[in-house]
């Protein structure tokens, strides 16, 4: 049963993977171009992290096959991970305040 299911669940052809690879390369190129634009640090950070999350989602969905797995596997693994990472962001506000709070030299 499991072997039959695996064959059925292969998902994605060679062409799909090549397309995903090209999109990933394109997004990397966009990131490199963006690095040479004069943008405030926090906005630049947001755009770069946003693009990276899109790339990560593509890798997880297609290369790591998550799109073709059962929803239960995704629900077991990812909501907790995302929640923990978002919890870390609580401290990021401090990082933006520290430079302002420094006494003038």
């Amino acid at each position: 049963m499991s072997t039959n299911e695996q064959v059925e669940h292969v998902g994605g052809t060679t062409i799909t993977f090549a397309k995903v690879w090209m999109v990933l390369l394109f997004l990397t190129g966009v990131e490199v171009l963006l690095a040479y634009e004069q943008v405030p640090t926090l906005i630049m950070l947001t755009i770069l992290v946003g693009l990276s999350i899109i790339k990560a989602a593509l890798i997880i969905a297609y290369f790591m096959h998550m799109k073709f797995e059962r929803l239960s596997l995704f629900l077991t693994l990812f909501p907790m991970l995302i929640f923990c990472i978002v919890l870390m962001l609580i401290f990021l506000g401090d990082a933006t305040r520290i430079p302002v709070m420094r006494p003038p030299v």
Binding site: L24, T28, Y36, Q38, L48, I59, F63, C84
Partner: protein
């Protein structure tokens, strides 16, 4: 009594069923990947925190060689991910020879990444004077976080190369099954995925314009 046993055998908790429809090796690797991604996100977060909190954070990465090198390294890792997918694909169709070749291709991509990364490190250490505890710009946190983050990632790549080497020689000798290659592939894609965050956050955010 017979109704009880029927009910027990159809319950998803009765055993003998796989709620995720995946084998235990793959699920184990997924659990490892989730915990390892928390490690990397903590390190990335520490780096970003220091980066945002220090207005005089150094920007040591010149377009040539650092940004060019790291872009080529990104290309190497992305392409090696594609070849790994092809290896899993070939193995799924029972073509061990083709799978072996694709895994070797993946290892070449990974090895190129390590070589480029080490030369990039040597460039930073020798030409820019960055070490884990000192640097010319008086922001010691830069070296500490940079080498910890990229060093841990490079360790993962090197472990991945050893892992793939073991898988490759087993595949060509007719050992191991499809799922073993797939699990190795999961690990390799994860290493690639982590670099997709390190490259913009560490290199592009500190590119010297």
């Amino acid at each position: 009594m017979s109704t009880v046993s029927v009910a027990a055998s159809t319950s998803p908790w009765a055993g003998g069923q796989s709620p995720y429809a995946t084998n235990s090796k793959k699920f184990g690797m997924w659990l490892f990947i989730i915990s390892d991604s928390l490690t990397f996100s903590a390190l990335l977060f520490a780096y970003t925190y220091s980066r945002v909190a220090n207005p005089d954070w150094p920007k040591p990465f010149h377009f040539s060689p650092s940004i060019i090198f790291s872009s080529i390294m990104t290309f190497c890792l992305l392409s090696s991910s594609l070849t790994m997918v092809m290896a899993v694909h070939a193995m799924n169709h029972g073509n061990r020879k083709s799978a072996f070749k694709w895994i070797l291709g993946t290892m070449v991509g990974g090895a190129a990444f390590v070589v480029l990364h080490l030369s990039e490190w040597m460039n930073l250490i020798n030409n820019e004077g960055v070490t884990p505890f000192h640097n010319p710009w008086d922001v010691p946190l830069f070296g500490a976080t940079f080498f910890a983050l990229t060093g841990l990632h490079m360790t993962h790549v090197i472990i991945g190369l050893i892992y793939l080497g073991i898988i490759a020689q087993a595949v060509i000798r007719g050992k191991f099954k499809y799922e073993d290659v797939e699990v190795a592939g999961l690990y390799w894609h994860f290493v690639d995925l982590v670099w997709m965050f390190i490259f913009p956050l560490v290199y592009l955010m500190s590119a010297r314009i």
